[in-house]
Chain length 81, copies 2
Amino acid sequence: MIYSVQVKVMPLKNLLDPQGKAVMGGLQNLGLNNVTDVRIGKHIDLQIEADNEEAAKAIADEAAKKLLANAVMEMYEIQIG
Amino acid sequence: MIYSVQVKVMPLKNLLDPQGKAVMGGLQNLGLNNVTDVRIGKHIDLQIEADNEEAAKAIADEAAKKLLANAVMEMYEIQIG
C-alpha cells in the first residue's frame, strides 16, 4: 500500500533563521505589521510503499535522519496522511 | 493576542518539482527504494498579533498572496495553532 507521509523540517528554535527574518522585513514593507515573527522550514511529501503505517513511518524517519534534515540545525516531525 | 499560524506552500500538482526529484534520487542511492514520490515545499510559521482567529487567518492569507506563495507555480494552505 502507498502511504502519504509528511515531513516538516524546521530550523531549531534557538538558532537564527535569516530567511525568516528577511521575509518578516518584506511583510513589514508591505504594511503587514501585525506579523511579529516568521520562521521558515521545509515541508516534504513522501509517497512510501509499505505494509503498514508503522513501516512507512520508519522509512520516513530513516529518510529524515539520513538526508532530509540536518540534526545540527534542524528538527523534524513526521505525520501520516 | 498572538496567534501561531502555519502556512504550507507546495508546488502545484501538475508541475514538475525538480528539487523533489533530486531528493528522490538521493533517497534511492541510500537504498530507500520504497519511496515512490517526493514533493518539496515550504513550511512557514507566522506569529500574528490579532484580535481573533479570523483576523489572524486573514492576515496570513494576505501575506501568502502577496509574498509567501507564487500563485502561478504554488498552492498554499493556512492552518491555525
